[in-house]
Subunit: 214 residues, 4 copies
């Protein structure tokens, strides 16, 4: 019992340290960017010694990737949830869109990085794993969308169309909207909530598809 209690206590402490390091790293990385981020500060904010970082993460890049991966995993599981629900196609698309925008606007820093991570020239020095993971993340989104559209076409709710391409357009539009949210001056030009704009955009596209059929 005592032994077990001891072990748990140590393990707990370890987990807490890891957590604090990740949190501190997230703050510093998002404020200063990968290159400018200073591990001294991360350690200080996490309340651990500099060397302790290296017991948990092999390198600065590794720590960065860990920060990103955490969000990626959270995103994926929530995305699956949002997609699983049943209902009419439009409604399902709205729901997915709502989640998608909400998630990335809440975690805007992650979006920026995921979105730009492929552009090696902006970051540089990141391990290839990170790139691959991010690519897969986007691919998953497209597949979810296509699944919904395919179902809609099969059910006769949607006009026949190239579901890959429509997924692509919808996804692309969402990303463009989110990104626009982060470009400071743009916001003033838009008076409606982003989610409403996207909802209308979805409707417009779907209507466009329907009409195309006629």
């Amino acid at each position: 019992m005592e032994e077990s209690g001891e072990r748990i206590s140590r393990e707990e402490k370890k987990q807490r340290s890891r957590r604090r390091i990740l949190d501190a790293a997230r703050d510093v990385f998002f404020r200063d960017g990968f290159m400018l981020a200073n591990l001294d500060e991360v350690a200080m904010k996490a309340g651990v010694a500099k060397g302790t970082l290296y017991r948990y993460f092999e390198s600065k890049a590794d720590l960065y990737v860990a920060v990103l991966a955490e969000n990626g995993m959270a995103f994926e599981s929530k995305m699956q949830e949002a997609a699983v629900a049943s209902g009419p196609v439009l409604e399902r698309l709205h729901r997915i869109g709502e989640f998608y925008l909400a998630h990335w606007i809440e975690h805007r820093e992650y979006f920026q990085i995921f979105w730009a991570i492929d552009n090696q020239s902006l970051i540089g020095g990141l391990p290839d794993d990170a790139l691959r993971d991010v690519s897969k993340l986007w691919e998953g989104c497209l597949e979810v969308l296509k699944g919904v559209l395919d179902r809609g076409v099969a059910d006769g709710e949607l006009a026949e169309c190239d579901t890959w391409e429509v997924s692509y357009i919808l996804w692309t539009m969402a990303n463009g909207l989110i990104q626009s949210e982060f470009i400071a001056p743009r916001k003033e030009l838009r008076r409606r909530p982003l989610q409403d704009v996207y909802r209308d955009a979805i409707d417009t596209v779907v209507r466009g598809l329907a009409r195309n059929e006629n």
Copy 2:
């Protein structure tokens, strides 16, 4: 006479140096990104001494901004051209879209940077001027689009609609498409030329607007 000739020759020399520095800087910045770019290499490629860089540009960031600004100006003047032309609304939108995609895919590095420049966490250390300039650039695009749509509505070619928002959607869609072009694995999922996809997207949206009206 001689003095004037000499002065001109000096001025020419200066311009040529500036040109070579900018070209070298562009190459290096785009290959390595702002943070990783090395001014030693820029100087070498430009065929000038390192110290000479500082006679033309105040700092690394200043040089970077100069590189970006050059492209920004070129883009703006060409964008105006593409927009000025007359014709039916759809055709004008197609033309603008074609130019927009073509330009940014040709200058993909600029797009990446313009698109992400406000994300401090990716770059950091850039002067505010750069950010403002880029914002204005995007604003100009939206205004051009809105002008075309307003005209279309006024002429009865287009259904009544919130032209700001439609501009926003169209612009957003284009940006998303371009960005997607740069995410390696995405390309394989799209079998049609990007420009065709965007053309259809425009049509779909416009059709959606028309049908919305009914």
Copy 3:
């Protein structure tokens, strides 16, 4: 009874741990050298925790010295053996030489270290004890040689000579030969076994002494 049994078992365990640590340390120290050797790896290879090392050895240097001392003791006892045997001087010198070369070529890493240990500029940070121990080791060799030579002179087998100096030369020659064995490219220049070369060298020197007398 039980207590005693337990104590023995504990003692045994301790000895086994010590043994495993020394073995692991030897491997790592010889592969990477004192400075580059990593105690993490030593602990891992020994199958104990890092902290445990410090229950057996006070410091990295202390562990290193222990590794060296072990070989030193083995060498000394075998050297005594090789020298004790009787027979004509030449034969005894041959036998000692054979053992000397064989031992150090088998334990080349030890030789390298013993040979260079006083060169602070190569290692550095080692305690003075180590240096003293090694010096004594070499001194012992010289004394053994001198003993044999003195006996040879006393028996009339050898010409009168400065036995210190001849010991010195013979010892020096052996060391040079062994060292040369470890310098990669040298090996190709020598077509005969090292032991044969040394045997001839001994003969040559002894012949030289004899002739000198004449």
Copy 4:
């Protein structure tokens, strides 16, 4: 004129800096060894900034190699000189031996390092070039010795013998003697100058060869 004067002054300054860095590096490397040597101290002793070191040498190892190479080159040219001279074989061998011992005892730190450099485990982290250079240096010595012996045999001054092997023995003996000089306690056992011991050793070996022939 002025321009040229300027250029020389700069060049001079550069050479002086290089010189000071090498000198400081030699002192520190020889006192602390490669691994323990601190470039901060080197810079300080050289009276330059830390970064300046890297304008002259690519890395710590590169600087170390430069220090060694300087001595290597000096040795080689002097060795050639010592060997070129004419005279009876014995006399030439004595002269070479005298130079060899004198040089390495004067530059004892170099000897230690050259001698042990092949033993990666003592140093570690040195570029392969260094190793190759050092090997060549020793090879050169052997070739010089063999040249002299071959000539002696050809002239009938020396008995027929395997000149490779005799070179090897003579060289080996010299190295052993020099090394013994650096093992602290040994020195007290030898009352005659090292050079005299070696001279006698050469004589003994050559006499041994002659007698062997008979």
